[in-house]
Symmetry: C2
Subunit: 231 residues, 2 copies
């Protein structure tokens, strides 16, 4: 009785030959779930809620999806469909950077995505298409296959982590609550107490910032350069 693997969704035909035709579809369900997550966060995406939104009974959803995890898998692959894979005929680094930038804006559109990508692998067709495209960009590079996979994985992780940082420094979604001091009340006290002197110094430095887009671009570029990917 093996615990269920969420990626099995992709192995199961959406609809079998006989029986009454389904009133709903994986796509419709995923879309509804997506809308809920975009507006109220991933936590609001419950089986019952999605079912109600789509106009179905709670138990009915399990005809389309074997588990809540599978629903999430559907959602992840759905947004992965927002990538555009036209080959811009550039050098490897440029093509990968392009993919990373697309990823970043997708995660901006769907704030629930970044944590998920950091946490679990997605193996849907669109996600695989992304992977394949990234590896295609690396084709001219002379590196063993697994090393290339590592590089793509790391680039994706850096992207997600960067976006996660961005998002947690911004107004949370949903009905706004009083802003309870961003850095956390507890932190400022600890800093004033004189512990963590280097931290205090680092946070005292003026933000300088510059363009966030540039910061992202250079974070990715730095990594790729270090990994030996030619410009």
């Amino acid at each position: 009785m093996p615990a269920h693997d969420p990626t099995d969704v992709w192995r199961r035909p959406e609809r079998s030959a006989v029986g009454p035709k389904p009133e709903h579809s994986r796509n419709g369900i995923a879309t509804a779930a997506l809308r809920i997550a975009d507006q109220e966060g991933l936590a609001a995406v419950s089986i019952r809620r999605v079912a109600a939104t789509v106009g179905a009974g709670a138990a009915s959803l399990y005809r389309y999806v074997k588990s809540h995890d599978e629903l999430v898998e559907l959602m992840m692959d759905a947004v992965a469909g927002e990538y555009q894979f036209e080959v811009v005929g550039e050098h490897p680094r440029g093509r990968l950077l392009n993919l990373a930038q697309q990823g970043r804006s997708i995660m901006h559109r769907h704030p629930w995505l970044a944590p998920l990508l950091l946490t679990r692998p997605s193996m849907g067709p669109n996600s695989l298409r992304f992977l394949d495209s990234a590896l295609a960009a690396l084709a001219p590079v002379d590196l063993p296959g697994p090393a290339k996979l590592q590089i793509v994985a790391m680039m994706s992780a850096i992207t997600s982590a960067f976006v996660q940082n961005e998002l947690s420094s911004l107004p949370p979604a949903g009905p706004d609550e009083g802003s309870p001091a961003r850095p956390g009340q507890h932190l400022v006290e600890a800093l004033q107490a004189g512990e963590y002197p280097h931290l205090a110094a680092a946070m005292a430095g003026h933000s300088a910032a510059g363009n966030v887009d540039e910061q992202f671009t250079s974070a990715i570029t730095n990594y790729l350069a270090g990994a030996g990917i030619p410009a």
Copy 2:
């Protein structure tokens, strides 16, 4: 009515002046939770379960911790206490690498940690001590404070992501179930179907591998070098 901030645990005194002396302690509770998580995964850490383990009623735990999230915060800071911060008087890159390697082995000891670190910030005293230590290593580097923070955050993210990759390619914890083909049954079919040619090629390449430790070291080193941290 602001939603509760988990980092408030650190602002609250463990025990107030009057009243009967508590039968338990934050530390004991965190330790119990930790043991459960190490053995059965984070999902097994429920309020009821921890309470029972510690020999208390479920509702009693809320005298020590305001929410489940706070419990997790406690757990994260507890394991952050496993870092060793002796200054080895090295160059910045070496010191940061040392911290990253310690982080990696901590995450190996506590497989539930990596996803959490990627997902939410931890602000407990031990976690702050880590941050401060990393920034201390960066003291000789001439960079604006926020940039240094970025670098540390990215290094930590890369570390967590790397470990996450390692862990998902290994036998899952808990009572073993039949190994249902690591890469996912669905994947091999898609690959054989000829879609995703580059992916297929990359996975066909012999693993070469080499030492995983070396892979990690060079991943971190690459990033730091790209970010301009001197050896």
